[in-house]
């Protein structure tokens, strides 16, 4: 797979070139954006097979929307982030409906400490993923953009079409909801009850 040979060109310009039938733009966008979509899906789902499916679906939606893309309306990466987040949420919600509570999952027999710790870490991540999926979309996007993408408030504000001040409140509400959802599982997740 060729590397991104033209890192200066804006994603939106490449998307416009794709819409005009430029195969080179398709190649560059694939190289740039597929790892991004896959990485985000992998963090949100923790399963490489599902992450691949989500990344592929998100990229297909990008090709589909290309002819109607309006330059300057949204950043391509922000649009893709939201699509991936929503696709992951759908899967996590389905997964959450069939998931067993953490305290009834059988303990492995005679686990070595490293295995136990790894399992506990993974249990925490899974619980957080499911709690994230249960958040309203805007809260989820604000929280995950900040923590997964390292996005600053103005960037999140632009993505959500709200003021910078509103981002603070949205993020705080999202975290409070996460804390409330996870607090009941604190012991199962390896936290001391406060």
């Amino acid at each position: 797979m060729p590397l991104d040979t033209d890192p200066q060109t804006d994603d939106a310009d490449l998307l416009a070139a794709y819409a005009r039938g430029d195969a080179g733009a398709a190649r560059l966008l694939t190289v740039r954006l597929t790892p991004r979509a896959f990485g985000q899906a992998m963090r949100m789902l923790g399963d490489s097979g599902e992450a691949e499916d989500v990344a592929q679906e998100a990229m297909m939606r990008l090709w589909r929307v290309a002819p109607e893309w309006r330059h300057g309306e949204a950043k391509v990466t922000t649009w893709l982030f939201r699509v991936v987040a929503n696709l992951c949420t759908d899967r996590l919600r389905k997964r959450g409906r069939g998931a067993m509570p953490l305290d009834v999952v059988a303990e492995p027999e005679d686990p070595t400490p490293s295995v136990e710790i790894r399992m506990q870490d993974e249990a925490r991540r899974d619980a957080l993923r499911i709690a994230l999926a249960a958040l309203p979309e805007r809260q989820r996007v604000a929280v995950t953009m900040r923590h997964f993408e390292g996005a600053a408030n103005p960037e999140i504000a632009e993505a959500l079409g709200i003021s910078t001040e509103a981002v603070e409140s949205l993020t705080a509400r999202g975290k409070r909801a996460l804390a409330a959802a996870l607090k009941g599982q604190a012991a199962a997740l390896g936290y001391e009850e406060g």
Partner: protein, 122 residues
């Protein structure tokens, strides 16, 4: 064991979990995934030299007006104007079917059809 939050609004616990999830190592993007994405991109590639699709005429009108909110406002204003206009007809001396009494209707030119005169004149 790590301390769980013991009061509302304690974000450190959640921040730690989110940061841990964000730091989770992500495997390299599989080459076959990129190949599949590329294959779909080529399959959906518009014809060379293709123009960016124009929005349909109705969407251009809606956007020209200022979006769906503006269209809603326009419709509400038009409906209000229509109702106010109908209500005002009576005050300028124009009789309308819903403001007429029976007598008014009977004497109005609209009621004077040939059949009515015939009946009255016997």
């Amino acid at each position: 064991m790590t301390k769980a939050p013991n009061r509302d609004g304690d974000d450190a616990w959640i921040d730690g979990m989110l940061d841990d999830l964000a730091r989770t190592p992500v495997p390299e993007t599989p080459d076959d995934l990129k190949a599949r994405v590329m294959e779909e991109a080529y399959a959906m590639l518009p014809a060379p030299g293709g123009q960016l699709a124009k929005a349909p005429w109705w969407r251009q009108i809606v956007e020209g007006i200022g979006g769906w909110m503006a269209v809603g406002g326009l419709v509400a204003a038009a409906a209000t104007g229509f109702v106010v206009g109908l209500g005002g007809l009576d005050s300028v001396g124009v009789s309308t079917p819903w403001t007429m009494t029976y007598e008014t209707y009977y004497d109005s030119p609209g009621s004077l059809d040939a059949f009515g005169w015939d009946m009255e004149e016997g």
